[in-house]
Symmetry: C2
Subunit: 197 residues, 2 copies
Amino acid sequence: MARQSADARREQLVEAAIRVMIRDGVAKATTRAIVGEAGLPLGAFHYCFRSKQELLHSVIERIMLGSVAIPLGPVEEGAAAPDLIRSTLYTYWDLIRERPEEHQLTYELAQFALREPGLADVARRQYRHYLQVNVDHLQAVAERAGIRWATDITVLARFGLNFLDGLTLNWLIDRDDAQALSALDAYAEYLDGQIAR
Amino acid sequence: MARQSADARREQLVEAAIRVMIRDGVAKATTRAIVGEAGLPLGAFHYCFRSKQELLHSVIERIMLGSVAIPLGPVEEGAAAPDLIRSTLYTYWDLIRERPEEHQLTYELAQFALREPGLADVARRQYRHYLQVNVDHLQAVAERAGIRWATDITVLARFGLNFLDGLTLNWLIDRDDAQALSALDAYAEYLDGQIAR
DNA sequence: GTCTATAGGAAGATAGAC
DNA sequence: GTCTATCTTCCTATAGAC
């Protein structure tokens, strides 16, 4: 096999690991399955990573970094707040529906991380990051629409983060689009009600 | 070892399995760990269960059946709706805080079930059950407080289920009591707003 | 039904030739 | 750095004595 930098190999293995995890679940992502997916010999694993735990660390960090920053989307400045709220919620929801397996993986990895002493903190940082993304997002909506939120923005962000997390988890299990959309609309209406008048 | 009915042994193993899963996670609940926890010899496993998968099926069903039906608690007939709403939400939250590991296990098992073709349906039934519990609960609150809900009760139930699920998951990761309570209060206020006038 | 012993394989990790 | 061969451990499951 052609010589490559160790970093390139690591990349290759991390990506292969993520593919395996998405397809078969975290539990099935053995070193053998991963190197097989990457088309590398088994021995390659341990001169790229000291241990499987080290690879998992890399995988988790990669997933977090690449994780959904809800895009505001191409909405014109000065749009009405309710429209802005709905357009961003639907954008988020489309992301979930487009790549459900990826999001399922984030939940699996968070659970997994909680069980590994060295990884629990990564999960905590992930959720702090998610919260911050939501805070920023609510702020951006308020600025673009020229409104203020009636409730403390951090509380609002946590409320929304939790609802969307639960919605996603529930949908990953029952795949009931209609019910999910109804709940999403209820949340949109809740946000409408949180616009300070 | 004294002779016991096969059913009693099965019970014993299911309970041991749950203890191991709560303590060490689903992945670590090997047949050896389970029989060890139950104080039984390894061979006991396979004349109680055809396979490990069969045990997992029993474990999941047990967990679902025993899972939280939010108790309405000792609230007097005719109590004000907002009080009733808060008292039941706090009761739920106390349940979570009392036994976090048990609830973490339900999430782990749901994820696990999604990856096993034969078990995915159990997870679906579980969530249907949760939804029904929430519907019944909202109905009971309305009856006791003598109010009507302004929104379709199924939508309201799903919204609440999803929020509480996300809240729990988030708290299991960051254990931030203050933030969780703020979000819970925000949800209580949302429900106040859903009382038809 | 109960238990010991063991089969048979897959896991993570390493040794050592190239 | 790269790869094959192998070590050790742990897994699920079974065979067969009692």
